[in-house]
């Protein structure tokens, strides 16, 4: 079925990005609307996708396959790189998340008044590459999108960021590039070890492929190649497959982020403008988790099972370390950034469990964190827009003058601290649940992980109390700026709040979609 639906998810924003670039400066006011229209079109696209998606079908759907590069290597082999896009349950959930978050971030971008042409053009480029990452079914294509994402991100932080933007954007790009290099190594090794049997017999030459479907099937491994299972080859004294898995784990772990490769995150978040923080926390971090499942776990399941303990421990450290650090923060955005680290630790804990419950929980947690952290960053943005300040101690008793804001903040904070009936709870509960049921993980790890839930309650409630309760007080210069939410902000926070509630009460909406994919992974 070559409907072009998926490709349009990439091509639409790319075209719009070009259009904005080519429009003369006199059409300045229209950039944001062009961008918004594209985001709405993407939402409609997404709606069609969800409508036509068959949840019980476990493989990729809506596949579009075009030949792209056929590189002849010597006389015996061909390197085939194709343009393949397709989605399964996992990708669909992530695509849905990104389309929603980009839509919200686009509305939030309306408050940006500097160099709009460049901003919206880069923003749309970012939209296209991020979505491309989630729907690519060819490793080479995935990697191109993965790398290309850095370009708009670098400029979006570096130009529209806060005072320390140059440092933050550089740090971000260096960290991510280091991860990319590791992934690149694995990509080449994988492609050189897997053979597309079908085309091999057709061309009478060995055809090396980057197709995910071929890479994930271990029957396609070439005998005697670097990554074969029967006769392991050592790299620095480690089995090649283990080595590659670790490279992938670190590469995607930096993106996730996991402790100790997380320090780019607080800086990038604090400096980035609100909509970019929203995208960064809401979607970009999920690419790390997505990559871990789609690539690391799917291509190296035999290795991954041995690293369950290590991954769980790193997840636990992330949870507690992020939580304690969040407790010490004075800047609201930094606190949210560290809470992100803590919450993404649950994702690692779920991965470490290496069972169906843990994986489902981890994917749910990614989705829910996407909604909730976006909400939190928008909240920080609401205050920053009004006062150009984010210090927690500068605000007291906001509940009295900003009642609607307080209601929405309650949803976001309590969602983040895992109140049942909001989506955060389901993710945390099932990652811990999976971890507890796993045979490879000692019970003490999930038991300590439960502490993370207490910690998040402490730092979030404390902040909530300090900023929103008590008698109203703030610095004199902010006093008149603090007004309740406008309709745009109510719309953004309201949509996310309702989604959080929806997925918290009916988690099966999401579980039904991702469950077949997860079962297939273990099948």
């Amino acid at each position: 079925m070559q409907s072009g639906l998926l490709s349009s998810l990439i091509i639409l924003p790319l075209i719009a990005s070009m259009v904005i670039l080519l429009l003369p400066e006199s059409y300045k006011g229209s950039y944001r609307w062009i961008s918004l229209i594209v985001q709405v079109l993407l939402l409609i696209d997404l709606g069609t996708l969800i409508g036509a998606f068959e949840p019980n079908h476990s493989g990729y759907q809506f596949l579009e396959h075009f030949e792209w590069i056929r590189l002849t290597l010597g006389k015996t082999s061909i390197l085939s790189i194709d343009y393949i896009v397709g989605i399964d349950g996992l990708s669909l959930s992530m695509v849905a998340l990104s389309v929603i978050i980009f839509f919200i971030a686009n509305i939030s971008s309306f408050s940006i008044n500097k160099k709009e042409k460049a901003y919206y053009s880069l923003f749309l480029l970012l939209t296209a590459t991020v979505i491309g990452c989630f729907i690519a079914v060819d490793f080479f294509l995935f990697f191109i999108f993965f790398e290309f994402m850095l370009l708009p991100m670098y400029f979006l932080i570096g130009i529209w960021g806060g005072p320390n933007k140059a440092y933050a954007s550089l740090k971000f790009i260096i960290y991510t590039l280091v991860g990319s290099v590791m992934i690149l190594v694995v990509m080449i090794a994988l492609a050189m070890s897997n053979v597309d049997e079908f085309f091999t017999s057709e061309y009478k030459r060995t055809v090396f492929s980057f197709d995910f479907r071929i890479l994930s099937d271990q029957a396609n491994l070439l005998k005697g190649s670097l990554l074969n299972i029967e006769t392991p080859i050592k790299i620095f004294g480690v089995n090649a497959r283990d080595f590659m898995f670790i490279l992938l784990f670190i590469g995607f772990g930096i993106k996730l982020p996991m402790v100790p490769f997380h320090t780019w995150l607080p800086d990038a978040h604090v400096e980035a403008p609100t909509p970019i923080s929203v995208v960064l926390a809401g979607v970009l971090l999920k690419i790390g988790g997505y990559g871990l499942i789609r690539i690391a776990y799917d291509f190296f399941p035999d290795v991954a099972i041995h690293y369950g303990l290590l991954i769980s421990i790193i997840g636990l450290i992330s949870i507690l370390y992020g939580g304690f650090n969040a407790l010490a923060q004075k800047d609201l955005k930094k606190l949210i950034a560290y809470s992100s680290i803590s919450h993404m630790g649950f994702v690692l804990l779920g991965f470490g469990a290496f069972n169906i419950e843990g994986f489902n929980g981890a994917i749910f947690q990614m989705f829910s964190h996407g909604l909730l952290s976006s909400m939190l960053f928008l909240i920080a943005g609401v205050l920053y827009d009004r006062t150009k300040n984010r210090e927690i101690d500068n605000f007291k008793g906001l509940a009295k003058i900003m009642p609607i804001f307080t209601v929405l903040v309650t949803v976001a904070f309590f969602g983040s601290l895992g109140l049942p009936s909001l989506s955060g709870f389901i993710g945390e509960f099932f990652t811990l649940f999976g971890s507890f049921q796993a045979n490879t993980v000692p019970k003490v790890i999930p038991i300590l992980g439960v502490l993370g839930i207490v910690l998040s309650a402490i730092y979030l409630l404390w902040t909530f109390q300090k900023m929103f309760f008590g008698e109203f007080w703030t610095k004199d210069e902010f006093q008149n700026n603090l007004t309740d939410l406008n309709q745009k902000e109510i719309l953004m926070l309201g949509i996310l709040g309702i989604l959080t509630l929806l997925f918290g009460i009916f988690p099966n909406i999401l579980f039904d979609v991702i469950n077949p994919t997860v079962i297939q992974l273990f099948g």
Binding site: L327, F433, P446, F469, N508
Partner: protein, 713 residues
Amino acid sequence: MNPESIIFYNLFIYLFGFVLLLSLNKSMFKQLSGWISIVISVLGIIFSSSLQGPSTENFNISYNWLHLGETRINFTILIDNQTYFMYILVQVIAFCVKLFSTKYLEHDDGINRYFAFLNLFVFSMLGLVLAGNLLQMYLFWELIGFCSYLLIGFWYTKKAANSAAIKAFLINRMGDAFLMVGIFLLFLIYGNLDFDALIPQNINKNAFGFPFLSSQGLQTLAVLMIFGGVTAKSAQLPLQIWLPDAMEGPTPASALIHAATMVVAGIFLLGRISPIITPDAGLVIALTGALTSVLAAISAVFQYDIKKVLAYSTISQLGFMVAGMGMGAVGASFFHLATHAFFKAGLFLCAGAVINYMHHEQDMRKMGNLILKLPVVFYAYVICAASLMGLPFTSGFLSKDSLLNAAVAFGTKNGLKEIKLLVPVMMGITSFLTSFYMIRQLIMVFFQRQESPVDKIISSTKRTFDGVIKSFQKILNAENESLGEDRLTNFVRNLGMFEVSIIGLTVCSTWFLFSSNPFSFEEVWFLEVFQSEETHFSWIPLAVGMLFILALLISYNTTYEELRRYYLGEYKTGNQRRFYLLAKNHFYIDRIYKRLFFMFVKSGETTNMPMTAGLSDKGLKTRKFEIAPYFQLIETNIVDRLITKISSLVLSLSNYSSKIDDKILDGSVLGISFGLKNLGDKIRKSQSGQIQLYILGMVVIILCIVFIKIIIF
């Protein structure tokens, strides 16, 4: 209607009430929100009364909720006798409380918010009692905690209320963490979270990952973990400290949430899992409950805040119920839960009426003489207090008798030498202390005394009973002196909203709602549906009565002595004072938590922190050990610095490499090019343009070539 749709509509109207009232924030109907929510309650009671009464058949219906691989967790509605009683009880008490609140909060600006929260609470509480599996219960368990947080912190500009709210939520969170681990363990043991499946036969014998523990031991551990959750929600040792502070909320909300319904959720949960409570776990639970009840009763004796006395009394009574559950006396414990809910809610509402009359003064020493001013409240208070003390003709008599009976049976089952014996002994002490502090409170709040601080207090028994008679007459005359009308009509006409709701609860605190025979719990219809104890010790009610008389004698004197000292400004000194402070501050358990908390967080403003509600800052200034800032230090000094070091290393390396690049590689390239250029320059100089020189050069070169040729060949 079938039960399914009844329950659906019933839950829906409360949720609808929550949303509707919350949206009334700026509307003109705001003042009506009390009446709207009363209508909702009435509808709710009508709906639930059409539910089928208790029977041996349980109603059970499941909806597909969660499905992860092999694990299936359904959304199950389970109605058995426990559920049915709680279902009605919660709504009836909520109705009375709402009635009371319409007057109590009539001038409050956030009245719609208050009633919205109350409706959300009733919704969550009903959800909890209907829950058919542990995860579902956990869901509503946290929701009621959330409602409690909202209602304690209802007056959000008050600092004390905020601190109390956050403290309540955090302590409950700790409990929830235990509960969650307990749920995981139970899933490991039983492979299922449905309450129906939690029976000893279903143990999955080979799926344990625990060293050193038999399946019995693991089950004990699981039950104790669940009990950890119960200690927070039902305010048991060592997580009971949030409840006294929770009294910062509006009094009617305290009556509903922190006395009658929410705090008994833990008892309810214990009742649900009672089939799998192992004897070891049961003993721990019973001892914890009994110990909590004694400690809380001691603290209650030394409080001056009218609500704090009742709060400690609640902890103490909850200890009774928990002990009952630990002993396996599910029916008795549950019966006490039901009676306690009514009389304690009644007491709290009376306290609310008193506080309202005193213009939000809560110190009992400043009250007194209210017997004449609030006669109806006084009588209601006496009846409810009698019920709490376990005097005949009240519901408390029956339930306390049955609980103590079970305790004595439990303690003496294997002779008198076991640690089990401590349970009935401690519960006996608690009974005495209960009478003691209730009499003290009655005297302080209601009885007559002379207001002048200088005079010696000389209120005699006679005077007091004069007051009682006068107050009775006053009720009948009730400020309306016109003679033509019937006294009873006057009485009814002059009843306010306060009195009506209080009387409602007081009536429910007497025996006839539960039993036809006021003297024997064996005829309680309530207990018939549970299996009850066979042995019946008839001396227990007599003993309770003796303890009451003893308490009356002692308390009557000491209370007046206490008041005298208060008026004269005398304070206790020495060991006496030390003991007094120890008991009043509930054995400084609070302070331990505060210390613990400070280990993690460093903050300039100590008063505005979680876990510090109800504590002074004295003696806590020297804090040496804080963890969270250290983490931050690690973050900036080690992790980040490491990265910086690496990057600076890379930078300096690149510096060198760029120098090498500059000097050697580029240098050589440049050197070569410069050399060539110089050469070119030199050569250029030779290009003078003189043809003669060129010809000479050519000749020389040709000669050279010729010469070379000659030499070589």
